[in-house]
Symmetry: C2
């Protein structure tokens, strides 16, 4: 089965447990022959996928997460479906943070991703362009510009997520998830969370169809077999 998670920057493909990240310009008609089951948060990129490949199926309608959140992104829903209790952090173009409790989504929020934060600094002043030091640990107060940008970016993201996690379990995914997870004790990193959520949804939809078929078979059976 070939799955695709269409983000704002990349197309993420899953095939037999292997994940590939592609930019829109890298997609090519002959790349895949099989049917593609996808979810998308970006209509423009979605169009690129459906025009490039012959057979594509949007899974959005079967990604079903109990929540009161209005307009929750389908990728966030999918990732949350993998967790009964805990915090799900998807660090990509945006960093989304969602809380699950007893299998119900409790709410969540959005932070700009690392690349967007770096871009924001660069737009403030030429002095703040390209100033991130990814080996830096934001502990002591910074004493130069590069560290002061890195500290600001990392500390604000880490403290906010830590405040949400508290004593809960934390599950990281997304392109920057592995790097970000390092700052948290007991963090669990899984690159495939969104895809696992898509597969859970497919299983549930198939199970539902099987049940519906069974009921239909029962209904078509002689009356004395009505078990009600």
């Amino acid at each position: 089965m070939l799955l695709c998670d269409i983000g704002n920057t990349h197309f993420h493909f899953w095939s037999n447990g292997k994940v590939t990240h592609l930019l829109p310009r890298s997609l090519h008609r002959r790349m895949f022959n099989e049917e593609i089951y996808y979810i998308s948060v970006n209509p423009e990129n979605e169009k690129i996928l459906t025009k490039t490949f012959k057979t594509t199926y949007d899974l959005e309608s079967i990604i079903d997460l109990p929540t009161e959140y209005m307009g929750l992104g389908v990728d966030r829903k999918a990732a949350c479906l993998c967790v009964r209790d805990g915090v799900i952090i998807d660090a990509g173009t945006a960093i989304t943070v969602d809380v699950m409790s007893g299998g119900r989504h409790q709410g969540g929020y959005i932070l700009p991703g690392f690349n967007e934060m770096i871009g924001a600094y660069g737009r403030i002043s030429p002095l703040l362009v390209g100033g991130i030091n990814f080996t830096y640990e934001p502990k002591e107060l910074p004493l130069n510009t590069k560290d002061s940008i890195t500290y600001g970016m990392l500390k604000s993201i880490i403290l906010t997520i830590q405040n949400t996690i508290g004593s809960k379990k934390a599950y990281f995914t997304g392109g920057d998830g592995k790097y970000l997870a390092k700052f948290f004790a007991q963090a669990i990193y899984d690159e495939t969370m969104v895809f696992r959520g898509m597969r859970i949804s497919i299983e549930r939809a198939l199970e539902k169809r099987r049940r519906a078929q069974s009921v239909q078979e029962l209904e078509e059976a002689p009356m004395d077999l009505d078990w009600e």
Copy 2:
């Protein structure tokens, strides 16, 4: 006396305790007749000031703050000069956070300002454009996109600054300083901090000159008046 603090976006003028904020395109030759004492963090805007007005003096060389920080912005130095012990938060295009202890600068860091953060969200996805709710209090977990952006932006800024403040005193300045100060108990807001620092520096420079003159006068006096 007319003072000017040249930022990355605005020119901030101080005259007799009154502060005016102007965009570069709003500056006009006939606006001021007097001498302008300025500091600048933006060479391009500095050029606009010195070309528009006849007599301008750069105060940078007399803004003297004890620190080990390499490349600390002159506006941050000026604001820090007003505080012996405490945290100074200047919320403008960038949000700078600096710590003073016993009259010495201990270090500091930079966060993107509100406008840059809002822009960063908008660049991630059209769904996240213009989504800030400035009356929102980031307490409960958000249940819609607008609140989830506001929560992410405010909570990340507030928690980071709170982490630095601890039990110290906090002094807020800058265009968004008044709004930001509302989230902190015992916050002190002063729009004129950078200008107060400039005036402290001028006073000190004048005092130094007076002393140098006195020494010169003493040196030129008859030998029996040498008090050493």
